[in-house]
Symmetry: C2
Subunit: 230 residues, 2 copies
Amino acid sequence: MGKTDFSPIADTTRRAEIVALLRRAILTGQLEPGQKLNELRISEQMRVSRAPLREAMRELVQEGILTSIPYAGTFVINVTAKDIDDAYSLNKVLDEFAIERTWKQRDERFFDELDRRHDAVKQATRNRDTTRQIETALQLHGLIHEWADNSVLLETWQRLTSRLQMYFALHQQARREAVPAEDVHETYVRLLKGTDMRAAQRHAREHIDLDFEELLAYARDLEQRPSKGA
Amino acid sequence: MGKTDFSPIADTTRRAEIVALLRRAILTGQLEPGQKLNELRISEQMRVSRAPLREAMRELVQEGILTSIPYAGTFVINVTAKDIDDAYSLNKVLDEFAIERTWKQRDERFFDELDRRHDAVKQATRNRDTTRQIETALQLHGLIHEWADNSVLLETWQRLTSRLQMYFALHQQARREAVPAEDVHETYVRLLKGTDMRAAQRHAREHIDLDFEELLAYARDLEQRPSKGA
DNA sequence: TCTTGTTAGATTGTCGACAATCTGTTTGTC
DNA sequence: GACAAACAGATTGTCGACAATCTAACAAGA
């Protein structure tokens, strides 16, 4: 018997790479909300044919970050204040559930991974890398969902994450201020290591509410302006 | 100004029709779990080319009822007891949330629709139409999610529903017994019309637990047998 | 001037053919 | 006989071209 655990080899289809490229472009705000994706132009830029590009787009439509209108085109979703509100209120419920399910299964490996991801956030914060900061913060947050041992919950949360990451990226892009230097996740991590589950659940709610208010304000402001066309 | 409200016209792409056809085939158990979908064969049967068929498949993969392995094929998902357990435990959480959100917004139109859907279930039950019975029962159940006015919740629930419908169809197909004739949704509807929200939430949990136990028993039994290949 | 019909251009939807990859069989070697 | 290399068939992934549809500009008529 071998000792090493082999992870699945990378998907080597163009489609998979296109999905990754497009998703990244959307989640970092490179492609703006409402913007139309011209198939011919993009396929030429990526040096692929339209077939795998279109298949990739269908995936992202189902993932919820693109929207498609037959014979009209495929567009980046528009972000409304209500969308953010909806996503966040559901996220709260999922967090509470995830913490409950994770709680009994916490072990040394869990705490190690928690620290590792927390460190990643802190490093991104030090480097003033806003994009990476958002990414790592969501990964830290996602640990409880991965550890809850519920595939449907994990899937659901990953879909939600896509949107949240997009919202945060837009928000960060809008306000050109520096990123908060202090560590807002300290308490969250500490409570997850502690013995009071209810306290951890309560904090997850409040902790989320914090950045949420900022995001909502931004979204309400954004709704006054027109959306980007082709 | 006109008086009528026009709904969006139907999608008239082959892709959309293929998605509907395939989904129906899967959710009714016509296509068995684990079964491989041969692109050439299906495209010839449907008299379409592989392009729209493949795009349709990508959508259903993201919807969670198909799974794809590069260069190997696309398969109907396999149903494990844990999958069912996961889906149901999350469903409980979502139901509780949906009832809370719907509660304040209940009005005459809500109650009417509730009765309408309840009647649909009863009629399907009278007609011994098991497929339709599952469909209508899930639609009755889905009303609180539609009424909660949270797009992300609704999306999430619809994804879950796909699987639940598939699970139930398999279950019904397995046991050849007659469908329960008595009306198991009577209490559920009554509580949703009442004034005690907590009671409604509690019942939603227990009500679900009922059929759930049966489903789980079936799934555990199913896991002893091999899965269907090509 | 406003509405309606026409047309040209651009873009999406679909098709049939080819390339890349996998799977099972056969062949050859030890 | 056991094993590995080579082959053949089938299937998926990708491509370039064509058909269907939409959009916007323009022309014609009330």
